[in-house]
Symmetry: C2
Subunit: 653 residues, 2 copies
């Protein structure tokens, strides 16, 4: 293989960005002729971009400090890669958020012309995010590889991406849930006004939060997953197969981009058709194209198909875990109904039922992660695990398009409500939103499954880098490392849940104050002070993201320096195990509570306004920080710690 | 050292039983001249003994089946040890329960004569349990050692004890919490009648449950901890130091018995004195006697003091973890106040605050477990870890006396209420009960800390027994084992929480039915059908304990047979890590919620009847199965799986 292969892979990245560019043009070309929508859309965009700007500004000292330490303690190329990774992550967040906040209002306006038009805009908006993430990701990695030609150096690119992602997820998660809980508990429950009512002082913060958390946070999250899975495979592959081992994951990623672009053409809904079917067709066709392409690439590079099966194992496990997630969190199945039923006997039994479902739901996903691991090992040794993760994540372009579509549809609903569009419009956006929730389950499954496999691959790369023959559990230091690693996801979750709780309490007090003090607010004659609520969320997010974020970077370094490289290996193992469990538990418990509430709101067990509904609202509120703050952050945490260990390996060996 | 040392150790066991015998005599000698108390006490005793009988009967087939498999697959001595361990555990449960249910009514009657008299009876009742556990434990181990002289065979004694303990903890936990939740939610919240009101149909089941869960369950739990810590140290020590390594932990246990007996003389309260001070003096003096004795025994056996420091590290960590537990769960400190404060904004924020506190509370205890491990290793290698665990648990005689005292005082309060004793009597029992809660925190700390260290020691013994050079985390099979092991505490908790939820819902329905259908029940003219509620709890406990109990025995065997001895090692490591985290999280969250409710009931945030109080009741109810069913069962689970692996090592190597 000549150098030309780099051109091919880079070309796929350019293709992805071109696609995103064209899609952005389509969205810009769609004009909204409704001043109220444009105004609201502008307010939300301004709030979201202001937060992003302040967040990035707050992270500059952190990035510079780490870069300086890397330059000083490791070398300059690592520092350059780290800064590039951080910048690329910030760039994808910026682009995705800009387009998404533009698409919200247009989707709302499109919904007044019919389901089809709304679906196209929302999905196109999501696909800009999806394609930007994979395009920037692959071009960044290829660029760094051309510069330095060493996978272990490029690990710092992943380190940069992970750091930004963790802060973005935690900060965004705190922002959105503080606003959400505040808006719901005071506005909906106490004042009795509907969701997204413009009289609610926290309504803008709530809608900004959806973008900050679900778009920017999720984008940074998947960018990080994507590049780290590729980097881990490159690092492991370089030692085993030389350049071929480095090129293979990049080619898989390139195929994934082409497959995703092809897949977008299958997202079509006829007038009166089912949007869920359209999105699912997009995902399934992408998966099939991916597998087909992987077949040919594997045969071309290795003249042998064994590794192909590792990739197939990864793709299949990812999809299966997604469907399992749906079974535990969709109201079409037993678990959510059980929670709804337990709401009849009050909030306590609702909470216990949800916790039970969440804990139980860890079973099958973990077994399929184990299966993907064993299949990967069987067909490709440790490299097989890494390739399985790349296989899962190569279709990120499509998976993220579908994922990001959800919050756009959700926001469109909010704008429709606030700008007083007719009821039918809200019905359409609600339907699109509901579909987004279901398909998002598959995205969550991919995220968790790939996080586990990527973390394992990074763990293997770390062990190679520090040249450890064994990481022996019988060594008490390894066991102590395992305990400390296992502890971190608990502390991390505690910190982020408590942060949401504190911020939400402030928000509740502020919203109560405005309802009390602003004359005419309930009659619509007094204007709520939206900015104050935005400020509370912003300040809380920026303040509270610091400690959990730093913990993830500092603790592995301290353990590595004091207890040694083996203990650090134990720490990574422990953090992966409890991190994956807690991530699945919290994501699924939160999703199930949410849908149990919706199920009751559809009229079951007496519907809205009954004690059962009140109990279900408690469950939903508890689930909010579970599924949107702590849970998804854990996926990043375990990879960030592994990549920190990998990058800093020279310090410990 | 000649054979005579066995006589000395056995003598300490006999001494413990003699003490228990004399204490029982004292309790029998105290006559209650109140027919209503005697009647109620009789009903509770009958219910409790009936449950115990049915539980043991249900376990006979399991014990026989495992014994047959052991005899067939390993050898007959292992089968004999297993059955003996199971019988000894059942015996301690029986004795403890008999005496405790006798002491309840006498404590209530004693309280009408004054605080001092009530404290003496309750503590004497608890000490029968404590001394029986250590006496039977040490005599059982010594007996098996005399018979077979091989620590690895005696591991089956621990296996028997652990099996019974797991079923007793899970079954007892389900029994008591189903009854408790049912009695509280319908009786207190819906019907508005006080705690322990005889008009509540679930009141007898609730009081029986306290004995079944907190006395029999806890007794079996600590019996299992006690014997397994000793057995693990014997198994590790035999390889390193021969007979001296076997004798040392037994001598530590013997010293612990003497220290506990001496300690009981310090539990004295002057008229008008502070019972908390009395109990704490008992514990502290026992700890000091223990350390003093360990000093001389270590010097005598090894002519060297290094191992002494490992023991001191164990005792100190146990006590420190106990105090940390108190900080997170007592209303004198910030965490509980934070939860109480969060109750002002409703049940959801109360739940989030409690979960945050519980997760955060894992930090320091785990670090002190790590510290005890590292200190143990530093001074005594792997044997040091085992000796640290024995050090922590040697004072079980006193720790359990103090622990078992709590539920006796609690039950005495119930009997006082039901038999219409004057208000002052209830005040005294409430005060005794509150003291019990505080001192019990130290007991819980010891239980969790020792469980972690004992499981580690058993893990080491297992690795020795299957002759593994390393258990390498880089081996993907070990990592898969780690994942499966990490999964089990989540599944186990889910099963037991869901079981409580289901049983509680049945109980709620039944209590509601009785209030509806029995004429005059609220006026006190109609008699509630207590037996139906007892039946619901009994049936649920027996049915629901089966699957979690079997899972703990079957999964390690399956993983060992299919994936091999290394993967089983990984499984044990994973289960210990997540098991310890979850045990601390659930125990402390539950304790903190409970005390936050009590704190509000004392008048803070508006006191009883306010929305804040209602929110705190939700938290308390969620915490019930956390702290009394799932949490403590996990301590047993991790040791049971380790001891299963150790006993069945010949199958996997």
């Amino acid at each position: 293989m000549g150098v030309s292969w780099i051109g091919v892979v880079g070309g796929a990245g350019v293709l992805a960005l071109l696609f995103a560019f064209v899609a952005t043009g389509k969205i810009n070309a769609f004009k909204v002729e409704n001043d109220r929508i444009n105004e609201l859309s502008g307010i939300i965009q301004k709030g979201a971009m202001a937060f992003l700007y302040r967040e990035y500004k707050a992270l500059v000292p952190f990035v510079l400090l780490v870069a300086a330490l890397l330059a000083f303690k490791i070398n300059v190329p690592n520092a350059v890669c780290f800064v590039s990774g951080a910048l690329c992550s910030a760039l994808t967040g910026y682009v995705g958020m800009r387009v998404a906040t533009k698409s919200n209002g247009k989707t709302a306006y499109g919904a007044s012309q019919g389901m089809n038009s709304a679906l196209r805009i929302a999905f196109t908006g999501g696909s800009v995010m999806g394609m930007t993430v994979v395009g920037v990701g692959i071009l960044g990695i290829v660029g760094m590889y051309v510069l330095y030609g060493d996978a272990n150096v490029i690990a710092s690119f992943g380190f940069g991406a992970s750091s930004i992602a963790l802060f973005a997820r935690v900060g965004g998660g705190i922002y959105t849930k503080a606003a959400d809980v505040g808006a719901d508990l005071v506005g909906k429950v106490e004042a009795g006004i509907p969701e997204d009512d413009p009289r609610n002082p926290a309504v803008i913060a709530d809608n900004v939060g959806d973008n900050v958390g679900d778009i920017a946070g999720m984008g940074a999250d998947l960018f990080e997953s994507y590049v780290n899975s590729i980097i881990a495979a490159m690092a492991v592959g370089a030692l085993l197969f030389g350049v071929a081992g480095v090129a293979y994951p990049l080619f898989l990623a390139a195929i994934g981009i082409v497959a995703s672009i092809l897949g977008t053409f299958f997202v079509r809904v006829k007038e009166g058709g089912d949007p869920q079917f359209a999105l699912r067709m997009g995902l399934i066709s992408t998966g099939l194209f991916m597998i087909l392409g992987a077949f040919f690439v594997t045969r071309w590079i290795f003249d042998d198909l064994t590794l192909f099966w590792a990739v197939v194992g990864g793709v299949a496990s990812g999809v299966i875990i997604g469907y399992i997630t749906e079974i535990y969190t969709s109201s079409s199945y037993g678990s959510v109904k059980e929670i709804a039923n337990a709401s009849n006997t009050g909030a306590a039994t609702n909470i216990l039922a949800g916790i039970g479902v969440g804990m139980k739901s860890t079973g099958w996903p973990v077994l399929f992660i184990c299966a993907a691991t064993l299949v990967g090992v069987h067909f490709g040794g440790l490299y097989g695990i890494a390739c399985a993760a790349v296989g899962m994540l190569a279709i990120t372009g499509m998976a993220l398009s579908v994922d990001a579509y959800g919050p756009i549809a959700d926001n469109a609903g909010g704008i429709a409500e606030m700008s007083g569009l007719p009821h039918e419009v809200r019905n359409i956006t609600d339907k699109l939103d509901a579909v987004g929730n279901t398909t998002a389950a598959i995205g969550k499954g991919l995220a968790i499954g790939s996080a586990a496999l990527t973390a394992l691959a990074l763990f293997v790369a770390y062990a190679q880098a520090v040249k450890l023959d064994t990481i022996d559990l019988k060594d008490p230091k390894v066991m102590v490392g395992l305990f400390i690693g296992g502890l971190l996801p608990f502390l991390f979750s505690a910190l982020s849940i408590q942060a949401v709780g504190r911020a939400a309490q402030k928000m509740i007090d502020e919203v109560r104050r405005q309802f009390r003090e602003i004359p005419g607010i309930m009659e619509g004659t007094g204007k709520p002070e939206y900015e104050r609520c935005v400020d509370i969320s912003t300040a809380a997010a920026l303040r509270e993201m610091v400690i959990p974020g730093l913990m993830a970077v500092v603790v592995p370094v301290v353990v590595g320096l004091i207890l040694g490289a083996e203990a650090l290996g134990g720490l990574l193992g422990g953090s992966i195990v409890t991190g994956v469990m807690m991530a699945i538990f919290m994501a699924n418990a939160g999703g199930a509570w949410d849908n149990a509430k919706k199920y009751i709101e559809e009229g079951h067990h007496g519907g809205k306004g009954t004690p059962a509904h009140a109990a279900a609202v408690v469950g939903d509120t508890v689930g909010d920080p579970f599924k949107d703050t702590a849970g998804p952050s854990l996926n990043i945490l375990i990879k960030l710690m592994s990549v920190v260990a990998l990058v800093l390996a020279p310090l410990f060996s």
